[in-house]
């Protein structure tokens, strides 16, 4: 990897040097604006690859429908600078090799301007390397993963993440656990990969400084193997765990909760953001998660007073008929909402470069439903940086409290403090259409 990175830099720097020189010696009249891939005078084409089928698709397969719904709404209201937005959706089944192929097709065959909202740490790592998005200047925007590695701008110069990093999440969770359950035996189940590694960093001495009485790492895919979740629960029960953290994917949460119910293991559940919304996947699990704690950076989807939720729900009803408005639909629509602002900020002469520059220059100011700030800048490709805590109510929806009053916290992926944020969310633009 060291060599791979070095050679990419070697090649990239040489090519860039030649390009810079060529621009400097070209006559001014030759430098007229060029047409950009994925952009015409009337259209903008974007693409996404994510699991639409298979065990990893639960919930996530609702993202494109919601994104399309918002784009259709914008299109019906004149588009972006007169251009209608389309979204090409490709199913990767959560398989890195398929994600690579899909992305190559999106770029070479569908000729999209940018990839947006692609899902998964492994898939995006594989794509960034094999497709070489950075060297080719192809934006991969608002990636749906909290893996902190993507926040390395040198390694991922054209990528940006949307979710807070898992390190941030673990730091916030540490503070919450220590303040809420002092003296209790806290235990954790976590995925034994980059996802879990990030969490371990966030919980470690120099970050969240959280001690667990019992920690169980599960290899990805093992959660579906008969008997395996039962073995986890046996360890937690034997360890006398009183508070149970699950830092895993939704299917792991699902199987863990079910195994716990079977074993009459009833700790206080603290569910990480990634695997929390299992009530939407399997309504039968709702009784088991009532009262469980989790975290979100979006408002609750059942918040009756949130203007973003209300507008997005309305758009979802009209442009995504039949699709339930849940946490995934909210994130999907919000992603599209942010993307539209980026496209607008990039100006009429829309290019991949101007799009990336627009996010760098204006991304932190984009209106959106998030209750914590976006952190895009010339030096940061990090999206949200915090969460609020809430509990699952009787309908399986995460709520902050009865009055829907949020107390969001923010932090960084380093050793910075966890603080209550003073962030004031921009108001929803009129009609839900960015200016």
């Amino acid at each position: 990897m060291i060599r791979t990175t070095r050679r990419k830099l070697l090649v990239a720097s040489a090519v860039m040097a030649a390009t810079a020189l060529s621009l400097s010696v070209m006559p001014a009249q030759a430098m007229s604006p060029r047409s950009e891939v994925g952009v015409t005078s009337t259209a903008i084409k974007l693409g996404i690859t994510l699991p639409m089928t298979g065990s990893a698709s639960y919930g996530y397969n609702q993202l494109p429908g919601a994104m399309k719904a918002y784009f259709d709404y914008v299109n019906a209201n004149g588009g972006v600078n007169g251009r209608k937005i389309s979204l090409v959706v490709k199913n990767d089944g959560y398989l890195p090799k398929q994600a690579i192929q899909n992305t190559q097709d999106l770029i070479a065959k569908d000729k999209v301007l940018a990839v947006i909202g692609a899902l998964g740490t492994a898939n995006n790592k594989a794509v960034a390397s094999a497709v070489n998005l950075g060297r080719r200047g192809i934006p991969s925007l608002f990636i749906n993963t909290g893996f902190s590695g993507f926040n390395d701008r040198k390694a991922y110069p054209t990528s940006s993440t949307l979710l807070p990093s898992y390190i941030m999440e673990a730091k916030l969770m540490s503070k919450y656990l220590k303040e809420t359950y002092p003296g209790k035996k806290v235990c954790m189940l976590y995925q034994d990969d980059d996802f879990g590694d990030d969490a371990l960093v966030g919980f470690d001495k120099s970050h969240g400084n959280m001690d667990f009485a019992v920690k169980v790492a599960y290899p990805s895919l093992s959660q579906g193997v008969a008997g395996v979740p039962d073995s986890w629960i046996a360890k937690f029960k034997a360890g006398g765990c009183e508070v149970q953290v699950v830092f895993g994917v939704a299917s792991a949460t699902l199987y863990t909760i079910l195994a716990a119910a079977k074993a009459q293991y009833a700790p206080k559940w603290i569910l990480g953001s990634v695997g929390a919304d299992i009530g939407s996947i399997n309504p039968a699990t709702v009784p088991y998660i009532i009262g469980a704690t989790s975290m979100s950076f979006m408002p609750s989807v059942v918040d009756p007073k949130d203007e973003y939720v209300a507008k997005f729900k309305e758009i979802n009803t009209t442009y995504n008929p039949g699709a339930k408005f849940n946490s995934w639909a909210l994130i999907g629509m919000n992603t599209a909402f942010v993307a539209v602002q980026a496209l607008k900020a990039a100006g009429k002469d829309l290019t991949r470069m101007s799009l990336l520059a627009a996010i760098d220059n204006n991304g932190s100011k984009f209106a959106n439903a998030g209750l914590v700030p976006l952190n895009y800048s010339k030096t940061s490709n990090v999206g949200f940086n915090g969460y609020w805590f809430g509990t699952f109510n009787k309908t399986g929806d995460l709520v902050p409290n009865d009055t829907f009053t949020y107390t969001p916290y923010t932090t960084d992926s380093g050793t910075g403090d966890v603080v209550k944020t003073t962030y004031v969310r921009p108001a929803m633009p009129a009609k839900g259409l960015p200016n």
Binding site: L21, G54, L95, K97, D192, D193
Partner: protein, 543 residues
């Protein structure tokens, strides 16, 4: 039409046969080259002779000879004869063996002459072959004085020979066609030995691998090893679902098994550490059966099975190459005492194949056992004299492009990973960017920009989008001939595209980037020209 590059049909038998008594063919003593003896036939005459090092050569020259001649370098051939099973083949070859007659006719019909030799020795014969080729070009030019252009081409070992030939003697060549070339021996041998050593270390420590006896006794030892490796692969295949380890596994292997790490994870780890592709002829790592294993199969099982299938494809070459080099260098010319195998697992692989490895804890456990401090994983200590001889006498290809060159390689060639060509392509891009920058700078002074001419065109043989098949029960079906997989798995149409482009470049001085050429690439199917295609370099370059 599908073809393969095996120099000899019998080579495949070496991989699987019950091995008999062996003998090593001695290299012929140097003598004077013989002038070509031509049959004088029309419209095509055939000439034969022997170079000064004893290599048999052949030339086929049309009456319409237009001054361009190709010189073919064949692939790796065994240097060991097994009576009744395998014979060393040193006959002169003119084109890819499976399509040789068709290709010779195709070229001579165009007025292009063809030539090639059988080389004076087989095995890892890069230096000997370059010498032979150099001499052969001189012999041809002396005989056919209207020769103006020489185009070198070859695949596999012959691809490496062709590249080395072009690097060392650009003055003799007008263009080259380099197909799935071997890397420099330092890199290629590391690839071979890493695979073999890792398998021995975990799955069967009784494998000898190094220090074979001289002569036929050593050949028998090597063949005994081949049988053991084959047994390992058979056991691993049987244990893919259950995770069972071969019964021959080392104490270290058994400890990993006791730790709950399935053998398929260890197999995948070996492949990722060595750098063999995790996609193969039968396993795409994309398609899953229409069962509950739809996602788990391509993530956890297919990469291991692809690794196994690819190792089976390279095993014979690895052992024969290692054995041959030990013979030539008079000892072990490989040393992994200081290799840090944990550094050979890329960050990307650690993530992408995490489920296949059974998680980070399993990854850490496996890598820990490969520490030099583990007495149950003894490293290979090279012989000082052999290492010195290897370093001082063998040419190491630089990958520099000195003549217009067309390269072709399969995405998932198990013998010569695509990263070999990727590296040369990457290095060339750096050179080309520098040339471009220099031209720009010059233009600032002169006011006239003279663009540098691109000298490298890489054509990738690519797979279909998905290719794995499953039976009604969800079991995988074994496939053959999947484009972009297997060793030098090229079609006649693809060979034609490559050699035509090289001949075109030789005649015009420029590689073809025309619509007509690109259209031919498209029509040949399964090919693409893409400078951004990325494959990891060989692991040797990580150290």
């Amino acid at each position: 039409m599908r073809t393969t590059s095996f120099k000899s049909r019998a080579f495949a038998l070496v991989s699987t046969a019950t091995m008999l008594a062996t003998l090593v063919v001695a290299a012929p003593a140097n003598a004077a080259a013989t002038d070509p003896v031509c049959d004088g036939k029309t419209p095509v005459q055939t000439c034969t002779g022997t170079t000064s090092d004893g290599a048999a050569y052949k030339m086929v020259v049309p009456a319409t000879f237009n001054g361009t001649v190709t010189i073919w370098s064949h692939g790796f051939g065994g240097n060991t004869t097994i009576p009744g099973v395998f014979a060393v083949d040193s006959s002169a070859q003119l084109a890819p063996s499976a399509v040789s007659d068709v290709m010779v006719k195709y070229l001579t019909d165009k007025g292009v002459a063809v030539m090639g030799s059988g080389f004076p020795t087989q095995g890892w014969n890069l230096d000997e072959a370059v010498k032979t080729n150099t001499e052969l070009v001189g012999i041809f030019k002396a005989k056919f004085t209207t020769t103006t252009k020489v185009v070198a081409w070859g695949y596999s070992m012959g691809g490496g020979i062709t590249q080395a030939f072009a690097e060392q003697h650009p003055e003799l060549l007008s263009a080259a066609a380099v197909m799935n070339p071997v890397d420099a021996w330092s890199s290629q041998s590391k690839y071979f030995i890493d695979l073999l050593w890792l398998m021995k270390t975990w799955f069967d420590p009784s494998i000898k691998l190094t220090g074979y006896a001289a002569g036929a006794a050593g050949d028998m030892q090597m063949l005994g090893d081949l049988q053991k490796y084959t047994a390992i692969l058979t056991a691993l295949k049987a244990g893919v679902a259950s995770g069972a380890w071969p019964t021959t596994s080392s104490a270290t292997g058994k400890a990993l098994q006791a730790g709950g790490i399935p053998s398929r994870s260890a197999l995948l780890m070996i492949g990722r550490l060595a750098g063999i592709s995790a996609q193969s002829t039968s396993f795409d790592g994309i398609t899953g059966p229409a069962t509950s294993a739809f996602t788990a199969w391509p993530l956890a099982y297919a990469p291991a099975l692809a690794t196994l299938e690819n190792i089976a494809g390279v095993l014979g070459y690895s052992l024969l190459g290692a054995r041959d080099m030990q013979n030539k260098m008079g000892g072990i010319s490989f040393d992994n005492q200081k290799t840090d195998y944990s550094k050979q697992l890329s960050d990307e692989d650690r993530t992408v194949y995490n489920a296949g490895f059974s998680g980070n804890t399993a990854i850490a456990g496996m890598l820990q056992t490969l520490s030099p401090l583990n007495p149950d994983a003894p490293r290979i200590k090279g012989d000082a004299a052999a290492l010195a001889k290897s370093a001082s006498t063998m040419y190491e290809s630089t990958g520099k492009i000195k003549v217009p060159t067309v390269m072709m390689i399969g995405q998932h060639d198990p013998v010569e990973p695509a990263g070999i060509v990727q590296r040369m392509s990457d290095l060339y891009e750096v050179d080309f960017a520098a040339a471009k920058a220099a031209a720009m700078k010059s233009a600032q002074k002169s006011g006239a920009y003279i663009a540098p001419v691109r000298k490298l065109q890489v054509i990738w043989s690519v797979t279909p989008k998905a290719w794995s098949k499953f039976d009604a029960d969800g079991g995988p079906i074994s496939l053959s001939g999947t484009p972009g997989t297997g060793h030098a798995n090229f079609t006649l149409a693809q060979y034609k595209v490559v050699i035509d482009a090289a001949i075109d470049a030789a005649i015009t001085g420029n590689l073809p980037w025309t619509g007509a050429h690109l259209s031919k690439i498209t029509k040949a199917k399964g090919l693409k020209v893409d400078r951004d295609t990325l494959y990891p370099w060989m692991k040797y370059y990580n150290n």
